[in-house]
Amino acid sequence: MHPAPSVIVFTTLSGLGFGLLIWLGLGLPAVTGWVAFAFFAIAYALAVGGLLASTFHLGHPERAWKAFSQWRSSWLSREGVCAVAALLVMAAYGAGLVFFDTRLAALGWVGAVLSLGTVFTTSMIYTQMKTVPRWNTPLTPALLIAISLAGGALLAGEISAALILIPIAGVLQILWWVRGDGAFAASGTDMATATGLGNIGTVRAFEPPHTGTNYLLREMVHQVGRKHAMKLRGIAFGLGYVLPVALLLLPFSHMLAIVAVLAHVAGVAASRWLFFAEAEHVVGLYYGKR
């Protein structure tokens, strides 16, 4: 799949932002006034910034409001509804903390659940794709939720929680990569089922329908970067999981914490780039590219 920068930025930043909102909703850390304002500003900048980035890849962003209508069937629509509901509820909850020194606990819990729901619905947009076997697994929501909770804990300064959640996310990341590498072959979709010609013999693409490229090839048969996939996995794992844990285990300083957060975000972004760049869509079979 084409690793569109807008979608990578969106899933990375908004995952982190909603992760922070989950912790803030639970009252961890229990902040009020200007400190709460700073936390909420960071969370909203990440969550809303990510959502705005995601609209950049739309053909018609001005019609994006219509995406709230199909929550009965569409995970993308559910994500939109969940995200807006989470942001509204958390805004009310945050206003209580910042301006009135009051923690409306129940509202915070609702906001936390909605924020978690946003991360979950985002992950289901990818998980539901039977056409991309690498994504089509319960490990995908598990991984994306773990990364969001771990990143949120890191930003919220919940060090002990982060020290548990980052390794969990790291283990899920490894499992997701290992399972993903065999997913296409295990899906049962191949040239034989794509063409229905398998009972005659071995099928090979002889001639594509056109000499140039097309939307399908650009969007879904993206091959760039597979060469460095293993190196990038190493970088993603080292920056995203190993380094933050190592830095958190050192005596606490704000400088180290900032480095840990930046390393984590960079690592997750690299992992997210691979999430798309390594994903093989079954339509590639018709072009003999799998």
Partner: protein, 260 residues
């Protein structure tokens, strides 16, 4: 509404004969010709006369080489070339419809055609991801998703002569490799053709339940195989040599040259 209908009254679709398709791409051209100037946004091209041309097509023809396995009777079986037209299969379980966040994609209850309401399409591209067949292409000029409409603006069009009320690809196919009809009616011509020829689903394991069916190529003549006993070719006797010995001038020349 992007939930799929439980059932559709009819299941209009195509039956594509992989045995008779000659790979001429006439259906590709006629499809683009009709659909660029009728339903919805035109099918744009980018850099059409330049170094890197690409464009939106609703129907494309692939070609595959199928190599049969060697057997003791046929140690070197000839590969077979199969031309493979591919457009939207108007699936009963269309995954492209349910993922649509705006309700732009829908499957019609009356005839099962899968369409895009372009005024509602935000161009997110998710439906193209959900389709295993590559049937949907985002138009780069318009920013909306384009797909085969089964020529919905031809098949019900009273302004056209009756023989033209079929999809443009079907109307134009010079080798009758494309057939249009109601695959929900077991007595329709297309359903009978599917039953007779063993029509198949593409990627059945994807669970899309495509309406369009593909007819597999018939077994080919095998020139390099030993001839079966008996006269199987009714034309062969007519092609037997009618004369063993040349006559006339050529006969004289032949006999004279033999003597030298």
């Amino acid at each position: 509404m992007t939930t799929l209908p439980e059932t559709t009254t009819r299941k209009l679709g195509l039956v594509i004969d992989l045995d008779t398709c000659v790979g001429c791409h006439a259906c590709v051209v006629s499809c683009k010709g009709w659909n660029t100037e009728n339903y919805g946004a035109p099918l744009s091209d980018q850099d059409p006369y330049g170094a890197d041309p690409s464009g939106t097509f609703l129907n494309r023809v692939h070609s595959y080489e199928v190599q049969p396995l060697a057997t003791s009777a046929m140690p070197h079986p000839a590969a077979q070339l199969v031309h493979f037209p591919k457009s939207c299969l108007h699936c009963e379980g269309a995954p492209c419809v349910t993922v649509c966040p705006t309700g732009a994609s829908y499957k019609r209850v009356e005839d099962g055609i899968v369409l895009v309401n372009e005024a509602d399409c935000i161009g997110c591209g998710l439906c193209a991801w959900a389709c295993p067949y590559g049937a949907r292409e985002m138009d780069q000029a318009e920013g909306v998703m384009k797909k085969c409409t089964l020529c919905v603006d031809r098949i019900y069009n009273d302004n056209l002569p009756e023989e033209d009320r079929v999809p443009a690809c079907v109307r134009t196919c010079p080798s009758n490799a494309r057939h249009f009809g109601d695959l929900g009616d077991p007595d329709s011509d297309v359903s009978q053709l599917v039953a007779e020829r063993g029509g198949m689903d593409l990627m059945p394991e994807q669970g899309t339940k495509p309406v369009n069916q593909y007819l597999p190529p018939r077994p080919k003549d095998t020139l390099d195989q030993p001839k079966p006993a008996g006269d199987i070719d009714i034309l062969a006797p007519f092609l037997e040599p009618v004369m063993d010995e040349p006559k006339g001038f050529l006969g004289w020349l032949d006999r004279t040259l033999e003597k030298i």
